[in-house]
């Protein structure tokens, strides 16, 4: 009886209810190899000891259950829209709650009902939703942007545009030629470029519009929007989704969100005069992260803020380097790879970076860039971003090349997909311009998309890479954990979880030519273009964030104990709820890997 009382979700019931429910329980014993079907008995079964595998009609493993876990075959079958069978894989003692009592408990106890409301994917999503209110500055731009856009043609008269703006009560108008965004006109332009300049209101609006627009992606945080506005000294930012305009965010939209620590931190970073100053400033970051986690900022937002911080540090180091070494002889672009590229950094991330030089670069120019790269990478290391073990750094000549060499290399990788090449591409495809001429980065990314998306052999090799690690489904029974070293009994959440999701998202994105880098944005784009079912995309995204949240919580815990950040979670110390979520996340990843296998490696074994 004590056992039932401790089992989810029975632990939410009061004692008298629990006793009444326990009186209706039946105890059964099943031998290894026995197969239970919905017909025999029914009701909710709780595993007291032993282990049970749940499989669908195709005999695909849905879940493996151990002590304290429960299942209801008939409900699983109706939720799964398929028959579900349970096989005993280790002699099992089961407690069976008859369907009538189960129904009654669900009707009378909300928490109990909520627990069983639907199958695991919903359970996970709900857990994500119950995260506390996000930090104001960490919300996505799309949550505050104005979608009621005024768009005008370039040849429209200024007076007509001004009239429409007054009618629509908006402070800006976007000038579009068909689908192409040309520029923006704001209240201030009407004042400064028309009235003050004495220009005729009949002249076309294209005369006064601001051209080079600085846009922001819909998923970016308000915090990034503030930074962009400060940097470009503007009050209106067009919000882009998949390369097309979807809204506008203004300074007044941002005023609604209170300014807070991260903004100031990044502004301070950009004002530091030397590496020691940066170092000093960044020492406080783990402490801040702990505060953010405790304040309930979501994992995806913390990782965006942390990426923005490392971007700011990199940019500042590059500026300091250029001050020391003089201006660069040819244009270049500093690239962020891996988690920095995807804007999914957490604490303890190592550097993954590279450089693309303009094609006009000559061998004689390389010493300059080598010195610059050394300065930046050394600086990053001393600021808490350790050197990359795999030598994926701009200091390595292989990762510091002119555009055309990069493009040739990409061609070579995709024609002979050796494991090394596949590994490089998986790093390289998560690429983002951090500083310098971003056109170089975009050109490189376009080459990669063009080359890879049509190359099915390459995609198959990349799929093999994505399927290389499998999620530790049976973890809570047989501890699939690091077997040696200081991390015994612990699970590498990055290697066995997060990486698997990012690999899957990258593969699909590459196949469908999607330019997004951030895993969430990739999944959303895949959902929009129909490459992934809505439910699959959302499940994967939820799984990723469940893992990231556990990682972050773990890092915050380490920080409180004064230990350096790592990704090794001791699963024995996890709360029951976290275990359930972790298991759900792994099941979802497992399903997604099956999908990858079907799509890219059919017949390849």
């Amino acid at each position: 009886m004590d056992f039932v009382g401790q089992t989810l979700p029975f632990n939410e019931l009061d004692e008298s209810t629990l006793l009444r429910a326990a009186a209706t329980l039946e105890v059964v014993y099943h031998r290894q190899g026995e197969r239970l079907s919905p017909e025999d008995g029914g009701g909710l079964r709780i595993v007291r000891s032993g282990a049970i595998d749940l499989r669908d009609s195709q005999n695909k493993l849905l879940d493996r259950l151990g002590e304290g876990e429960s299942f209801h075959l008939a409900r699983l079958a109706s939720a799964h829209e398929d028959s579900v069978s349970a096989t005993v894989i280790e002699d099992a003692l089961l407690y069976r709650l008859p369907d009538a009592s189960y129904q009654q408990l669900r009707e009378s106890h909300r928490g109990f009902d909520r627990y069983f409301h639907t199958q695991r994917s919903r359970r996970l999503r709900r857990a994500a939703r119950y995260e506390p209110q996000p930090h104001a500055m960490a919300q996505a731009v799309e949550s505050v942007m104005n979608q009621d856009l005024l768009t005008v043609a370039p040849d429209e008269a200024i007076s007509a545009v001004a009239k429409s703006m007054s009618e629509r009560r908006v402070s800006s108008a976007f000038v579009q030629d068909g689908e192409t965004l040309l520029g923006i006109v704001t209240d201030r332009d009407l004042r400064e470029r028309v009235l003050a300049a004495g220009r005729s209101p009949d002249s076309p609006v294209s005369d006064i519009m601001t051209r080079n627009l600085h846009g922001i992606t819909a998923g970016a945080s308000l915090f990034e929007a503030v930074l962009a506005m400060t940097r470009f000294a503007c009050h209106h930012l067009p919000v882009m989704r998949d390369g097309s305009l979807c809204g506008v965010v203004t300074t007044s939209d941002l005023m609604l969100a209170r300014q807070d620590d991260p903004v100031y931190l990044v502004q301070h970073i950009s004002r530091q005069a030397d590496v020691a100053g940066l170092q000093n400033l960044l020492e406080g970051v783990p402490q801040l992260v702990t505060q953010w986690v405790n304040a309930g900022i979501r994992a995806r937002q913390v990782s965006r803020i942390l990426t923005a911080i490392s971007d700011a540090v990199t940019v500042r180091l590059l500026q300091l380097g250029e001050e020391q070494l003089g201006p660069p002889p040819v244009p270049y672009c500093w690239l962020g790879f891996g988690s920095q590229g995807r804007q999914e950094q957490l604490l303890g991330a190592d550097q993954d970076n590279g450089m693309v030089l303009d094609d006009s670069a000559e061998p004689a120019h390389d010493p300059y860039f080598e010195r610059l790269a050394n300065f930046v990478c050394d600086g990053l290391d001393s600021c808490g971003y350790p050197y990359c073990n795999g030598q994926v750094m701009a200091t390595n000549p292989q990762w510091r090349q002119p555009l055309k060499h990069w493009q040739e290399e990409v061609g070579r990788w995709s024609t002979s997909p050796t494991p090394d090449a596949v590994m490089r591409v998986s790093i390289f495809f998560d690429i983002r311009s951090v500083h310098g001429t971003s056109g170089l980065c975009q050109a490189l990314q376009r080459t990669m998309l063009d080359t890879a998306s049509r190359n099915s052999i390459f995609l198959a090799a990349l799929a093999a890479n994505a399927l290389d690690g499998s999620p530790p489904l049976g973890i809570f029974r047989r501890f699939v954990v690091e077997r040696d070293g200081q991390h015994r009994d612990s699970l590498d959440l990055k290697k066995h979880g997060v990486m698997l999701v990012t690999d899957i998202a990258r593969l699909h994105a590459l196949h469908h030519g999607i330019e997004a880098i951030n895993t969430d944005e990739r999944l959303q784009a895949l959902e929009r273009c129909g490459a992934l079912a809505k439910v699959d995309a959302r499940n994967l995204s939820d799984a990723l964030h469940c893992l990231q949240r556990l990682r972050l919580q773990h890092q915050a815990d380490l920080q409180l104990r004064g230990e350096p950040a790592d990704n090794f979670l001791n699963i024995r110390k996890l709360s029951k709820m976290s275990r359930e979520q972790l298991r759900d996340a792994f099941s979802i990843i497992h399903d997604a890997q099956n999908g990858v296998h079907q799509q890219y490696r059919q017949g390849l074994g």
């Binding site: 009186a23 039946e26 059964v28 014993y29 099943h30 031998r31 290894q32 190899g33 026995e34 007291r48």
Partner: protein
Amino acid sequence: MWRLRWRRHRYRRQGRGDALASCWEAPLPKPRQPWHQQGYLVCDAEMSSLELEQGELLSLGWVAIDAGRIALSSATHCLIAAQDTVGQSAGIHQIRDCDLRQAGSEADAIEQLCLAARGRVLVFHHAPLDLAYLDRASQRCFAAPLLLPYIDTLALERQTLARQEGGPRPGQLTLAGSRQRYGLPDYPAHNALTDALATAELLLAIASHRGGVDRNGNCQPATLADLLRVR
């Protein structure tokens, strides 16, 4: 079964009280039927001493098995008012004299047991001890021993282990030791009801292991005779 009938016949005339008589009227089990088609009542008794002459019953616990399933709704725990004080055994059973004050008489307990046992096979872990006390109680109450068919899980386990090399080792035949062999979880021991439940789970495990599972995952149950044969 014929022996049971013959012995009951000897006591039938002198016996008194309805509860036991009605138990005897119920049909005796059919050894050839699959084990789970028979009902069982798994019992455990706590007493103040292991010696019948010095001890008395302190509590009875039982739980029923029907259709191969333990029904927790049948779980019953009877505390018995002791004539002497509980003495040393309190340390083992955690029954104190003050608990026993709300307890019923031995006669009440044995009568309730008989009502629950009608048509069922009794199950004990180490039957001789429990039965000695229960038979004495029954003699006092009904002027006859219980004379009900029973299964002894300890005897079943001893038989299984005897076939293995070296025979049973000390501690292997205890309730906890036997349960461990079947991968059953640990329970706090020495409460009549929890011990009865623990024994019931052990019986399910033993019965399952004396049967088999075919290739399609269907159960091939053992017969009742497979469980009754040992004495």
